[in-house]
Amino acid sequence: MAKRVRSMQDFDFRGTALSADEFSKGKVITTTGEPHAEYAWDCGPAISRYLEELRNGRLIARWCKRCNRTMLPPRMFCELCWCPTTEWRFVRDTGIVNTFSLCNITWDMKPLKTPQIPAVIEIDGASAGMGIMHLIGGCDPRKVRIGMKVKAVWKPAAEREGAITDILHFTPA
């Protein structure tokens, strides 16, 4: 049996749309508020060291002995076997694209001339499926592929501040 497709005739649209004018003239009563929510998150030993090494221009992971997993981002305990991780291990700043998207629209739904390319990069030296959530740059968006080899493009050393943005983006290797 064919699946019934809903058509516009199935709906009876009643009511009148509100215009911006009606809001600005106060015909629709609303109230506004500005948030003032500020936080300073303690990063803890794993993420603090990760950020510190980003400032040094390198990536560091933690190793779980029981699972033999080199975990990036680093963490003090393994979420799978639930043991403490035991060792710091430097990994490379190269990897392959696990998945990516072309982000064409800003947060308030304005079109972007050049899409932003968020991607998950599996980092060389980390265990399979582990790596960095970052951006791809210096590359034609139409050329990005899953499995593509990429490398980190770092900020100049003097400008790094111990943040995920100390890497500007990943670019084809």
């Binding site: 936080y39 303690d42 803890g44 639930w82």
Partner: protein, 382 residues
């Protein structure tokens, strides 16, 4: 008859004003390791998990999504509670008593030190149209409540100050008591003004901590589990949120929550049937107001009995032997779980210098703070 449910393991970090060396993940992990060790379980053996978390306190939307790794709850059933830790205990109780699961974990934590604008966050709990535009600081709600409570109950400023003196002194003997101190009624009353009649020294300062509690069904207690502490009754309730019309003198939410818990536990006379009480003392007067609401003291009597020393550790009705929030700090929505854990230690006889003699039955009561009328109660038995 529903299955009997026991607390078989508790884990906690020591409450402190700041914890810069650990993220909330590592803080929770530390508490979880201790709790699972006591319970004699591995996380993979646990049926269901109840993190209690509030997004605005974390600065993360849908913050419960970040609970799993540190609890060992990856790909396990997780049921988040946007409430006090005792709401979490009640939910865990239900999920086990109904037979859905055999074991459950409740987690709650506070990283209050990471919230830089706490009074603004609190203001977000106020009605945005009618109340928010008015106030300088939403903690004035406590002042409003204290005024009316004192007016109707006859409690005096001195009697309120006695709560601070007692709880901070108790905290001196508790390793968990970050704010233990010897203060006098005069010290409290001559301290800075805050939200009159509430003084600055009558307000619990914030603490960071994490708590994890493991529960199990009577017929499925792990062989290596710590000696069980039984959930005998749970109850929770909320009054109307409306500031314009709510009950200001009496904590009706606490009365309703306690009645439910008492009915379930078969408690007729709480002052006689319960040996120790860990109840909300976010502000000095709150302990007195809650003592009356929970039926532990007659109305108008809580202040007098406190001033006479009847709520001391060796008194007839020991209240907040741990030091409570005034002595150990206020831990956001982890506060109720802190009180529950202190009750468990009392019932196991592990409370050290703050041990209440022959404690067989204990009550923990949590309130969610200004401006809520949200309370939850658990009656525990050895």
């Amino acid at each position: 008859m529903p299955r009997r449910v026991a607390i078989i393991g508790v884990g906690a970090t020591v409450p402190r004003p700041v914890t810069p060396e650990l993220s909330y993940r590592e803080l929770i992990h530390e508490a979880a390791v201790r709790a699972y060790e006591e319970a004699g379980v591995e996380p993979r053996e646990i049926g269901t998990f109840m993190p209690c978390t509030e997004d605005f306190y974390e600065g993360i939307s849908i913050s419960d999504e970040y609970s799993n790794d540190q609890l060992g709850a990856v790909l396990k059933p997780v049921h988040t509670i946007g409430g006090d830790g005792i709401h979490g205990i009640a939910t865990a109780y239900m999920q086990i008593a109904t037979g859905l699961f055999d074991t459950a974990v409740v987690e709650a934590h506070s990283k209050a030190s990471n919230v830089l604008t706490p009074h603004h966050i609190m203001n977000y709990a106020m009605d945005p149209v009618l109340n928010r535009p008015l106030g300088e600081n939403p903690l004035y709600v406590a002042g409003l409540e204290m005024s009316r409570f004192m007016h109707e109950s006859g409690a005096t400023s001195e009697e309120c100050a006695w709560v601070v003196v007692k709880n901070r002194r108790n905290a001196l003997s508790n390793p968990n008591g970050a704010f233990g101190a010897k203060v006098t009624v005069h010290d409290v009353l001559s301290g800075p003004a805050a939200f009159c009649p509430l003084g600055a020294l009558e307000m619990a300062p914030p603490s960071d901590a994490a708590f994890v509690v493991v529960l199990a069904a009577e017929d499925r207690l792990p062989a290596r589990a710590a000696s069980p502490v039984w959930i005998r009754g749970v109850g929770w309730s909320n009054d109307s949120p409306t500031l314009e019309t709510r009950s200001w003198a009496r904590a009706l939410y606490a009365e309703a929550a306690a009645q439910r818990a008492y009915r379930m536990a078969g408690i007729r006379n709480p002052a006689r049937d319960i040996d120790c009480f860990e109840i909300d003392d976010t502000f000095s007067y709150k302990e007195l107001q809650h003592l009356e609401a929970l039926g532990i003291c007659d109305r108008g009597e809580a202040g007098k009995r406190t001033a006479r020393g009847e709520t001391e550790i060796d008194g007839a009705t020991p209240v907040n032997a741990s030091g409570g929030s005034l002595g150990c700090g206020h831990m956001l929505d982890a506060t109720g779980l802190f009180r529950t854990v202190e009750c468990v230690r009392q019932l196991r006889g592990e409370a050290g210098q703050v041990q209440v003699k022959d404690a067989k039955t204990a009550l923990a009561f949590g309130w969610r703070g200004v401006p809520t009328t949200s309370g939850a109660c658990v009656v525990l038995g050895a």
